[in-house]
Amino acid sequence: MFAYVVRRVLTTIPLLLIGTFLVFTLTAISGDPLARLAQLDVDQAAYDRLIDLYNLDQPIPQRYVSWLTSAVQGDMGPSPSQGGQQTFDLVLGRALNTARLAIPAFFIIAITAVTLGVYSAVKQYSKLDYFVTGFSFLGISLPTFVFGLLLQVIFGIWWFDWFGARPFFVQGMRTVAQHGWLDMVRAHVLPIITLWLVITASESRFQRAAMLEVINSDYIRTARAKGLPRRTVILKHGLRNALIPLVTIWAIDFALLLGGAVVTETIFAWPGLGRLLLAGIFQQDLNLTMGVVVFIAALVVVFNLIADLLYGVLDPRIRYD
């Protein structure tokens, strides 16, 4: 198993190299960082600093190599668009802010998606099933920003008009340390609900499909033929099997959540990774863009690995050797 983990990590290295090279190249050719300076009234020294920072006098492959050389040593360089702060520290700080939404959202989503998926599969074609199917259709087809803005309108404007108060904050992050528990919760609710709707919609569909396949399988018939109570048949024999394919979905969703939800963070003015990435791209801050991208790539790699290991725990047919 240890050998398996090592092998898996090693095989992701070429992937990471190709991925970062592509992003690096695309970012480098998509805009000229010097062009921004031209709009400001700066002296030649500022130009030189930027040329020196990004080795702009060299061809792109060589620039990539020098970026990579420092990056593997843990030096992601400074971020010119963020006042020259170290990219590494920036990414880490923002990642923590994103995690404030991602971690609770992930668990709430997983629990509701499993419950809805299982219920609608077990009661296929019932009213509840149609409700869940309709709900996921809505969640999948409604763009995130529509739902996020809708929540802001409801709680930020209408609620205020009717009741003269706002139950939740519609913009910005609040922490326990600075604002106390209540405000912290009030600030987290709406972005988490937004993430919840969008991701629960797709997860519960997967869960429903997985569960439907399982409850029509022969071993479920065997379990019923043994005289087991319905609960045991569905939860022990059914769900245990139907969770196996969900593990991969969870891993992807968790990695995406932790990597920053660009739209949700933008709507709710949340200082997370998603907005940091946007800033990097729009301001042609190569170091910053690369920093966020590498972080997200690492998340995907790590969570896929965790998913594969969990697979082995859940499914005895899988062996790692």
Binding site: Y219, R221, R224, G227, L228, R230, L314, P316, R317
Partner: protein, 340 residues
């Protein structure tokens, strides 16, 4: 054996499914009796309603099924039992072995734990350890080598034949009075079929259970069954003791089945002659006798549904055919499928 009261007494069982294409009448007025300890073979082509009848006895039909008639087990009508009361019988008094051993066991639990669970759900007073010992005995009984090690294996570590043996062990774990085996050897290698059949007989002897053996294969029936019930199009076509079915069948469908069984035909160097045509639609069955379109002996009278005629005074030989009495005697050529 036949004079005692039946263990299982199915009367006028009708099972239909509402589907998008119309009402599927899978079982249409079936009577079936089983007596303690006997082996009854239920034979018929695909779609004749064998599995559906068995599932009706097991209480495993989907909830949208319409069931009429009665299924009395030791005098209680199972169709009237609550699910809770039915669960007490499932896997305990009545147990079932399914066709495909590759998929019948849950892949994520060990074989042993699945059997232990089956024991302890009906006998919670038995300790885990005792149930485990019993499981090991059962695995030994059905011929699993090194049962003490194998008990902790997962299903995928068993071969197909071993999985079916494990399914048999599971089925007999609580010494049921009735064992229903739905094509238990069809999915297996020919070489393993005979072994598994032998294991089933051992298991049956060990528990004294009555066994309903559902199969396509008349050849398989010969050595095993006391009585045979032939089904076609959701109806009983013929019922009698095994010898009578093989040597003195009074039904064109049964006779057709016999000459269409490869193993049986090969044994008599006869040519294989499958019944022409296909089994009837369960939604729009042909008018009159459902076998009429495929029957060599069909006449105008066959546009009327034939009754299930008793061919002897005791009703031990029944045949659904207008011409049951008039059919020619079976010649030596036609005595097929009798295994040595």
């Amino acid at each position: 054996m036949t004079s005692t009261t039946p263990l299982l007494d199915i009367r006028d069982l009708t099972v239909s499914f509402k589907t998008d294409d119309g009402l599927v009448r899978a079982v249409n007025g079936v009577d079936l009796q089983m007596f303690p300890g006997e082996t009854l073979a239920v034979v018929g082509e695909s779609g004749s309603g064998k599995s559906v009848s068995a599932m009706a006895v097991m209480g495993l039909l989907p909830s949208y099924t319409q069931i009429e008639g009665s299924v009395e087990f030791e005098g209680t009508d199972l169709l009237k039992l609550s699910t809770r009361a039915m669960r007490k019988l499932q896997g305990n008094e009545i147990a079932m072995i399914f066709q495909d051993p590759m998929t019948a066991l849950n892949p994520v639990f060990t074989v042993g734990n699945q059997i232990i669970e089956g024991i302890r759900i009906h006998h919670p007073q038995i300790s885990k350890q005792a149930a485990r010992e019993r499981t090991i005995e059962l695995l030994a009984l059905v011929g699993i080598p090194e049962p003490r090690q194998r008990v902790d294996n997962y299903p995928h570590e068993f071969s197909g034949g071993m999985r079916q043996r494990a399914m048999i062990a599971l089925a007999i774990a609580n010494e049921p009075k009735l064992l229903i085996a739905d094509e238990p050897t069809t999915a297996l290698d020919v070489t393993i079929q005979a072994q598994v059949l032998e294991v089933m007989r051992t298991a049956q002897e060990a528990t004294g259970a009555a066994m309903m053996l559902i199969t396509h294969d008349l050849g398989l029936v010969a050595g095993v069954a006391d009585r045979v019930q032939v089904m076609y199009g959701g109806r009983v076509f013929e019922m009698s003791d095994t010898d009578t079915i093989f040597y003195r069948s009074r039904n064109p469908y049964t006779r057709g089945l016999m000459t269409s069984v490869p193993t049986a035909a090969a044994r008599t160097d006869d040519r294989l002659s499958p019944i022409p045509g296909a089994p009837p639609s369960a939604i729009n069955p042909p008018r009159g006798c459902v076998f009429r379109p495929r029957c060599q002996h069909a006449e105008d009278a066959c546009y009327e549904e034939p009754p299930l005629l008793a061919l002897d005074a005791t009703g031990r030989h029944l045949s659904r055919c207008h011409f049951a009495e008039e059919l020619p005697e079976l010649g030596a050529q036609d005595e097929l499928g009798r295994s040595a």
